[in-house]
Symmetry: D3
Subunit: 243 residues, 6 copies
Amino acid sequence: MRPSGRKTDQMRAVSFERGFSKHAEGSCLVKFGDTHVLCTASLEERVPPWLRNAGRGWVTAEYGMLPRATGDRMRREASAGKQGGRTQEIQRLIGRSLRAVVDLEALGERQITVDCDVLQADGGTRTAAITGAWVALRDCLGWMEARQMVKADKVLKDHVAAISCGIFAGQSVIDLDYLEDSAAETDANFVMTGAGGIVEIQGTAEGEPFSQEQFLTLLSLAGTGIGELVEMQKKVLSDTSAA
Amino acid sequence: MRPSGRKTDQMRAVSFERGFSKHAEGSCLVKFGDTHVLCTASLEERVPPWLRNAGRGWVTAEYGMLPRATGDRMRREASAGKQGGRTQEIQRLIGRSLRAVVDLEALGERQITVDCDVLQADGGTRTAAITGAWVALRDCLGWMEARQMVKADKVLKDHVAAISCGIFAGQSVIDLDYLEDSAAETDANFVMTGAGGIVEIQGTAEGEPFSQEQFLTLLSLAGTGIGELVEMQKKVLSDTSAA
Amino acid sequence: MRPSGRKTDQMRAVSFERGFSKHAEGSCLVKFGDTHVLCTASLEERVPPWLRNAGRGWVTAEYGMLPRATGDRMRREASAGKQGGRTQEIQRLIGRSLRAVVDLEALGERQITVDCDVLQADGGTRTAAITGAWVALRDCLGWMEARQMVKADKVLKDHVAAISCGIFAGQSVIDLDYLEDSAAETDANFVMTGAGGIVEIQGTAEGEPFSQEQFLTLLSLAGTGIGELVEMQKKVLSDTSAA
Amino acid sequence: MRPSGRKTDQMRAVSFERGFSKHAEGSCLVKFGDTHVLCTASLEERVPPWLRNAGRGWVTAEYGMLPRATGDRMRREASAGKQGGRTQEIQRLIGRSLRAVVDLEALGERQITVDCDVLQADGGTRTAAITGAWVALRDCLGWMEARQMVKADKVLKDHVAAISCGIFAGQSVIDLDYLEDSAAETDANFVMTGAGGIVEIQGTAEGEPFSQEQFLTLLSLAGTGIGELVEMQKKVLSDTSAA
Amino acid sequence: MRPSGRKTDQMRAVSFERGFSKHAEGSCLVKFGDTHVLCTASLEERVPPWLRNAGRGWVTAEYGMLPRATGDRMRREASAGKQGGRTQEIQRLIGRSLRAVVDLEALGERQITVDCDVLQADGGTRTAAITGAWVALRDCLGWMEARQMVKADKVLKDHVAAISCGIFAGQSVIDLDYLEDSAAETDANFVMTGAGGIVEIQGTAEGEPFSQEQFLTLLSLAGTGIGELVEMQKKVLSDTSAA
Amino acid sequence: MRPSGRKTDQMRAVSFERGFSKHAEGSCLVKFGDTHVLCTASLEERVPPWLRNAGRGWVTAEYGMLPRATGDRMRREASAGKQGGRTQEIQRLIGRSLRAVVDLEALGERQITVDCDVLQADGGTRTAAITGAWVALRDCLGWMEARQMVKADKVLKDHVAAISCGIFAGQSVIDLDYLEDSAAETDANFVMTGAGGIVEIQGTAEGEPFSQEQFLTLLSLAGTGIGELVEMQKKVLSDTSAA
């Protein structure tokens, strides 16, 4: 029995609020239950130094949590003077996940930075961030298309979405919330495309090592869940008045 | 004529959304027009080292802006490795403003940290932050009162709210938005209590120096505006179901 | 009764020692009683990156205290690895105050940095710094005029000076020393020009909020005091052998 | 055809040099071909603050590369003033991998830090580091057992080793060297125990997304390779004169 | 011929101004020609963590230069976020030199920090700093003796002073100023006690290596010069009204 | 009697392992007994900003210790966020020592960075580092000569090597190991050329000040020892197959 009463293959309520931010070229407040992440995509007409004159652009991500997004207040990273290892790990993952479906040549010599800031955390912030970041990125490209800068669908080759699965109380479950996450025996994050290709897999045994069979069950749960997330992304984007 | 079409003594639409954050003991999303600041009050059963065994508590504030809260994306302070001078100046102001109406002995040996994070900026973030931070702090004290820890009204002696005034296109106006702020000749921030006492005054000539008469006009505008803000704080707090 | 025995409207003995530093284009050791600040103005033939090719220059300030300028030794900021919030607040104030009377176009594409280093502190370091920094800046411009680089009086449009006033033991007093400053109910800093225009006002209630009437009394005290400081600046500059 | 001429399931020559460091309680220079990592295990009779009086110990890891371990010299992280995101990601992975096979209660209130410093890099530094770190940790526990502090086999419940696999030029291969790594379409790291349980899986599509079938092939290759590595660990530990 | 017209064995005019700082337990503004260093000795009733309960105290030094102490303005170290290598090297040298003549047991469990801040630089700042720091330290111990805390002469066993010598334009000269220092072939700093014992020797060939004979000439020059400096220290301390 | 049983003028066993690193243009693992330092020389076709278009190159050094190179584990400097004072002092010394025998014009507009990383420490790491760094630098220049970039012997004008001497238990001894170093009364480091010229002298009284006679004894010991080190450098370089 899951603490939330959900079935093992049941994700939390997921929603996307496009155009949350007035200034950003694309933005989306994504919610996976009580996990709320604000994703903004910012376009800049410059590339990192190591990409100059290379004929292609760059997509990168930064991740942060508000100090009281969590149950106990955490120290503000700006005040601590550096981003922690967890933060850096997550923002590198988000960036890689987005780039897996972007044609950087088609983007041209520009950079899009997707900021994912957790307003409230209840487990699964990185997977919510990836799923919402894709929507913000898509709206940024739509903004650019409206200005004849790119063809959005040429730059963004496919959807990308992510979900966590894990073994909790002996059962394979999808979309762990904080209570489950902190007690899970195994915790895995999956990033996949709309076509079902795998972009990233990260699985960790928190307690006992897990078997190949267990891992395949998690992978199967994730495949179904990500399919549903991609459908939701499609649906929210079909509302042409929203961004 | 103001860019927004407002009258010289007309503030933007102001709203408070209490209980925005699930985890914080008190929280409030305050909006002054397109300026949106999330304020969370976090209670900790400890005091700073220099206050140990002094028989009183501490109230402090931290301030931050999401990188794309602004028209152009700003560098994330956590990534830059330090908080800028402007950030430090503002968070010190918020902390002093709140402490002006707090009885630290009545609080007991505890610390309340109010985080003010700007989700979207359109001028006046520091004054919105102070005004919203007071609501979050009040709800935190209410949470404590419900647990017999303190009497909220003994700890919090009065309201505190803040507004900016300035001279724009030769006219004294209240509650400058970004367009006005960046073109104003003089810019001043006022922090006052519910009883009308002055807690902080900060006035800066951006262009020509200003006269005593001009300053008194701004002070008068501010007094009226802050009176309205205090009424709004009272009204939103009277909704006992909200926090 | 003030601890120093001064009258309420009596400033401490003020002196300026021009040419204190052999290397700087302009320098001045300013003393407000036991508060001693060394101000040096350094000319550089370059501007900050964001001003390149903008056809105008920049004037900025930095502030520091020697570790044992104060009653108890403070940690050296260079060793702590960052400038504290107070330091940043003060150096931003000094820079703004100077720029209020500088014609940056007339300066040309150059930067003048005024370093204000507190050798000994006894209250009022920021106001002494502003008052002395103006003298160092004026001498730097005189140095430039002697080399046909600028007309000093075209670049520097007016005097600027500053003083603190506050409510101490129920009375409005000018130029608070450390004993008064640490016990004052209200503390305000005023920056004004030679023509009497206001450049900056910063007033803070340390204890009880203050009233508009109280504030006007402080403003009036400050106006008289700053007038005297400007006369002293004029007098010290009339000694053409000094710099 | 692999650049090194190896078969698809052929690892590089692997060796362990125990007791490389005179001072450390356990140490091992591990080589996977031209990738050389010095692992030292340091025992300290203290635990991190958050573990005090919790009745158990801690095992952690740090990772670093000498500046010229790589083809081009990289900036020294100590000089840059912080550890990069990649470094933090890797050292967190090594620590988790070791803790997966350690009984922290049996260790007692002590901390063992395993430093993994790359003397020379040619791909696969993190997997070599994990594999060698286990040997250094085992020898540290042997050192403790010789002093009647613990039973080494009670603290260390199983072997742990790691290998990378990837899709290079369309083929699934094991133990990628730098040339393969930088051209691979998919790159995955696997950490497993002596009993064959999975501790960590990290798979990344560098180019096209990969399929579940492809991933299973990599997992199978890894299982065989890690089995061999565990046998080598056993063999090198059977030389009782070495540490 | 030396740029200053001095003879090869002629030091610059040296002066000590005791009691320069109102707050410090001991202070001295030392001048070697145009090199001016403010030395303050601060007493604290605590020791560094690694000395706790060891029954003895500590004497340490910090060194800094005001940004415009030099011909060109240097970046402020507090703003750069760290002390440079040269700064650290010098402050370590000053601390070691002072400790060479201090009986740390006789000091008791206290720390004295001597801050040496260069107000104006013209070569030889480290040797001037050591020579002046000794005077500040002596006055601090006198302050303590007046309060029956220690016997100053039991804590401070001997004088210590320092001078630079070098080979300039083929000649061995003492007390190099900036012009000489930047052109010297060899530059050496000597720290000696009142009894003539050597505490520190640092010699560097800036151009051609130097011979043992050349080095002995420098050492001999230094011995005579330091003897004179010690006499000056004695003379300035004999003025019992000064500190 | 020395703890190691060595005679007073007997150095530890010294060895050089050239070509230790596959990637560096020159490299050498130097051992002075149990002190082991890996030196790598890295060539870059760029110079520091302040040398641009000056028609000459630069040679610099960086120094580091692995955390467990020492008896107790030290904190990793990359994790601490800065290089300590000792590290900076040593790397500046190594750089100066190498440059004393390099013709920077003959090098051309290039930079060679020699990294000296201590794998194991037992006293004398800086002198071992200098002695080994020279070998790595020579091999780097040989690599360049093989590519017709420079004439190695025109760039490198002489050998340079270093040794420590000190007064231990009342006797002057050469090449102190850790046990001697931590108990020595006086500790001095000498850097000399193949021709016997002195490049650097650093002598420190750890306890009692030392006399000129004592210092000359140390200098004489050092001269003999460095002569032997230079012979060893010549011998190891004569093996043309090694680098």
